[in-house]
């Protein structure tokens, strides 16, 4: 049952081959059995079974949706009414959200079943899931390696079949990088496509939620539910949502693929590069034309990102003050002590590092040199994408410089950790959509291929990914022990 696609699960439920309660119990048992992966922070069996029961009634009535009765899981960054929402932090260990995120609300309306809340790097800051207050998540392909981050729990859960699909969020690569390292399909939509309401903010001009699934077709189904205008999010874009499955089978003959030389230079593992070259060959066989391009400002993405994201983070996280919700220190002597110690004891090291960096970049005398400069660089990077996408249909490249690294390997060197996001960060700065799809293995570990498209071209990206998944079966491989 755990290897069925979302469309197959839907058909099975419609045809009464199994009930949603049976399907939900089946996934709950798997979660229990593989608890050592630490993919979940909170499992919600009672809620899940109640939702499954309601879904079965809806299925019987014939009023079901594509996702009705299908067990999914939410990254613990999405507020869930009445369910603890931690964002991977001690700060929110006791925070029961008083409302639902729009994304959660949409899944509830579709009748999807929520199995629980998935582990993540604290406040989505990290590339390995090791900054979670709730412990590191293990990569199902090799439990001594990281699943990537920050949506590491989501990627591990989908890869190990502990949920039919999962949500993730991506600020600098947090959907695509873990998807690549765990061998699943991840899509970061165009900024503004999916509502951010109730999605705990890290860097508001970069954050975007999206689907993490086993295939492009599943991602299309999930995005269909997630996408759309939301009045409650002032940055939500009011554009119609296309039928994301309508064009999946469109031919790729004549597709123009751009390969930026900056993506294939020094720093990219040789075996990963060879694997990606084979994937590009598949596209050539599908009738695509490959063009070499250059995006000279990509090298500035990491410096610009590590000004902009921490600056926005330091502003966003100022709301955690120990007064209205979340962690409060014991016996504060005065108001400053209350703020300082609640924040000092509630946040972990990486979060503190970024708050400090952001506070510094925004402080008097440094604002122009760092923040303003970074915003100008952001414009240059964005122009690079516009120029490239005017001459090609899609940009392809690596997602990560290498396959999954060892747990603990980069924790003492934050800069090395930041550099592991070198191929994903620029996309968030520009705001364009991008995917990671499974493209093969190096020494038994998954490699992801990145597809980057123009603003609001999610349907095209899904088509390009789906066509590849029709002629390859990398996305169907299952880690040993989880068959």
């Amino acid at each position: 049952m755990h290897n069925k696609t979302l469309a197959e699960l839907n058909l099975g439920l419609q045809a009464k081959k199994f009930s949603s309660v049976e399907l939900t119990q089946f996934f709950l048992n798997r979660i229990d059995k593989h608890i050592q992966l630490n993919a979940y922070i909170t499992v919600t069996p009672e809620l899940a079974l109640a939702q499954a029961k309601a879904a079965d009634q809806r299925l019987a009535k014939g009023t079901s949706d594509l996702l009705t009765g299908i067990p999914i899981a939410q990254k613990d960054i999405f507020c869930t009414h009445g369910v603890v929402t931690t964002c991977g932090s001690k700060m929110l260990a006791n925070f029961t959200a008083p409302y639902n995120a729009t994304v959660v609300e949409k899944f509830n309306q579709s009748g999807a079943v929520m199995l629980g809340k998935l582990n993540m790097d604290e406040f989505a800051m990290g590339s390995s899931n090791e900054t979670s207050y709730y412990g590191a998540v293990k990569n199902p392909w090799d439990i001594n390696t990281v699943p990537g981050g920050s949506s590491g729990g989501s990627a591990a859960a989908v890869s190990a079949r502990l949920a039919a699909c999962a949500t993730g969020t991506d600020t600098g690569g947090s959907i695509r990088q873990p998807a690549a390292l765990c061998g699943i399909t991840g899509l970061k939509p165009t900024y503004g496509r999916v509502s951010r309401y109730g999605m705990i903010a890290y860097a508001s001009s970069l954050d975007q939620g999206g689907p993490m699934t086993r295939s492009a077709e599943d991602a299309a189904i999930m995005l269909q539910t997630m996408a759309g205008f939301d009045e409650k999010d002032s940055t939500s874009v009011n554009l119609p949502v296309p039928d994301y499955r309508a064009d999946l089978n469109k031919s790729l003959v004549g597709l123009k693929i751009g390969l930026p030389k900056e993506f294939f230079g020094e720093g990219l593992n040789e075996d990963v590069a060879k694997t990606l070259a084979l994937a590009i060959d598949e596209y050539r066989k599908l009738g695509a034309e490959i063009v070499d391009i250059s995006m000279p400002n990509l090298k500035l993405a990491i410096p610009a990102y590590y000004v902009i994201a921490p600056a926005e983070c330091s502003a966003n996280l100022s709301r955690f003050d120990g007064v209205r919700y979340g962690y409060r220190c014991e016996s504060p002597v005065d108001l400053t002590d209350l703020y300082t110690r609640s924040r000092g004891e509630g946040f972990g090291k990486e979060v503190k590092r970024r708050i400090l960096m952001g506070t510094y970049a925004l402080s008097t005398g440094y604002y122009d040199a760092y923040y303003l400069k970074a915003q100008k660089i952001r414009r240059l990077i964005s122009e690079d994408f516009k120029t490239a996408l005017a001459s090609v249909d899609v940009i392809m490249g690596p997602v990560t410089p290498s396959t999954a690294f060892g747990i603990g390997e980069k924790m003492d060197d934050p800069i090395a950790m930041y550099l592991s996001d070198i191929y994903t960060i620029a996309i968030n700065l520009a705001g364009v959509p991008a995917m990671s799809i499974p493209a093969g293995f190096v020494a038994g570990m998954p490699v992801g291929l990145q597809l980057i498209g123009d603003y609001f071209s999610e349907d095209r990206l899904l088509n390009i990914a789906h066509q590849y998944q029709q002629v390859t079966d990398w996305h169907n491989f299952i880690p040993t022990g989880f068959e």
Binding site: S205, T235, P303, M357, Q375, R378, L380, G431, V432
Partner: protein
């Protein structure tokens, strides 16, 4: 550019962020490393470039000025660390 322990303490104070004494040197080192990364930005001339704050370059949407939210005080206060008589409690600020 490198930051000193003093700088880190000053920034931490601005952010009202408690940091352990034994970690200050490490933060100074990490932040200096991040600032080194950023020197790459100064190699590029950006004099005539318009800063980009938002990917969509769109104006902030306005809504009609009418009440849309219901009162959630009890629900919100139920998750607060310390409340009394509908108020949020903090240490005494006025003598």
């Amino acid at each position: 550019m490198s930051l000193t322990a003093d700088d880190v303490n000053k920034i931490a104070h601005l952010a009202r962020l408690g940091i352990d004494k034994q970690d200050v040197a490490a933060y100074a080192n990490d932040l200096s490393g991040m600032l080194d990364l950023m020197t790459k930005m100064s190699e590029v001339n950006t004099d005539d470039i318009e800063p980009m704050a938002h990917p969509m370059d769109q104006a902030q949407r306005l809504r009609v000025d009418v009440v849309t939210e219901l009162n959630h005080r009890e629900e919100f206060q139920a998750i607060a660390p310390q409340v009394e008589a509908g108020l949020y409690l903090v240490p005494k600020v006025i003598e």
